[in-house]
Amino acid sequence: MFDWLFRYANPARFMGLSGALLPWLWSAALLTLATALYLGFSAPPDYQQGRTVLILFIHVPAAIMATNVYACMVVASLFSLINRHILADVAARTAAPLGAIFTLLALITGSLWGKPMWGTWWVWDGRLTSTLVQFFLYLGYIALWNAIEDETRAARICAVLALVGAVNIPIIKFSVDWWATLHQGESIMSGNLAGPFLVPFLVMMLFYMLLFVCLWLTRIRTLILERRLRSLMGAA
């Protein structure tokens, strides 16, 4: 079923293909960034939030990437466990720090949006709380990776952790939402990205995805070469 994938899963083939794609992807990322910034700063102020919608343009994509990158990590971990392929190992490992940064950015920008809108830097509402837990899941995964010396073993063990986390995330989301309704009666105002704000947001979202793909590919390529370097040094 995945034959087509494995033709590119050969590290040498992967290096060739990704090397050819990356300049185009970087250019596309730069172009979307410029467009998104232009559209965002040209957007009219919202009648409720004023110009703080500008924060939402970068907050919401970061929050979406926080979960999307974890999904990428889980898929790579599955391949790592089932097919025991080195490319999958490296892909899962390099995705984690990127996901952690996106999650951190979602938390910081969310807090900077919340201060003028809610009057406090932090609110224990469902979405903020699950994002915080998600951040800790990334940290645990990264810590475990760095603690295990043998790379292949670390890949398999961390893959198990990523999968356990994936099973648990929906439960955490459910429990956090349940807990949030338990503790606050009034509903708080949440960001709204409709009408004239939809297009700038979507372009910025596209930029975040392109940036992630570029960074992910670059990191995978770096780790593959580092591995080759180590084997060369070992042989010499």
Partner: protein
């Protein structure tokens, strides 16, 4: 005696005999329950509001304290290899070890909680809810913790990483557990019992398989 029971009783005896896990966890739990009022102040109304959550967090941390040795001790002295070779499957062995850990820490912590809840001025119904919630929920702590213990068993500093990877996974247990106490205090039904029981049951049934896989990955290298 079946291999399952043999492993269970061996682990139980070890946890009591070494003066190790079981007693230390209880002492830790009691200290948390003492330090929080000392830090927060003696206002019993405030403490009663926080009591359920704090005792739950304290119990979960206390149970984690001895978890990093669950597989590690047997890994270091080689008995884990023997357990892997025994007629008992690794899944069965993991289940026996989780059960032994719960009996030696989760259960004593549950039994100690009504006494410690005196420090927090919990009402009678809240104390019953807290004890019930710990009885239902601590198996999940042992079970999810066992996954972390199996993944970190070959690490020298596993004890530091274990809480970092296990505590985020235990968020639902703490919320539902403290939710049961809240239900008793406010009288508003919130369904926490059902959610906690479901989480605990699912964790206890699934984690032996995951933990066995973790042990296998560590023994293979």
């Amino acid at each position: 005696m079946t291999p399952f029971l043999a492993l269970l009783t061996r682990d139980l005896r070890l946890s009591v005999r070494e003066g190790g896990g079981a007693v230390l966890a209880l002492g830790f739990f009691a200290l948390v329950a003492t330090l929080v009022p000392l830090g927060v102040g003696p206002d019993l109304n405030l403490l009663a509001k926080m009591g359920g959550g704090i005792l739950w967090v304290g119990a979960a941390l206390a149970a984690l304290l001895s978890l990093d040795r669950l597989f590690q001790a047997d890994y270091e002295d080689g008995s884990l290899d023997l357990i892997a070779l025994s007629p008992l499957s690794l899944e069965g062995a993991a289940f026996a070890k989780i059960a032994a850990h719960w009996l030696s820490t989760g259960l004593p912590l549950t039994l100690l909680s009504p006494i410690l809840s005196v420090f927090f001025g919990l009402s009678g119904s809240a104390v019953i809810a807290l004890t019930m919630s710990l009885a239902i929920g601590t198996p999940a702590v042992s079970a999810v913790g066992a996954i972390g213990a199996s993944l970190t068993l070959s690490l020298r500093r596993g004890g530091l990483i274990l809480p970092l990877i296990v505590l985020p996974l235990l968020v639902p247990a703490v919320m539902f557990g403290a939710g049961m106490v809240l239900e008793a205090q406010t009288g508003l039904t919130n369904g926490a019992v059902g959610f906690l029981a479901a989480f605990s049951l699912a964790a206890s049934l699934l984690s032996p398989f995951v933990a066995a896989q973790g042990v296998r990955l560590n023994l293979a290298g």
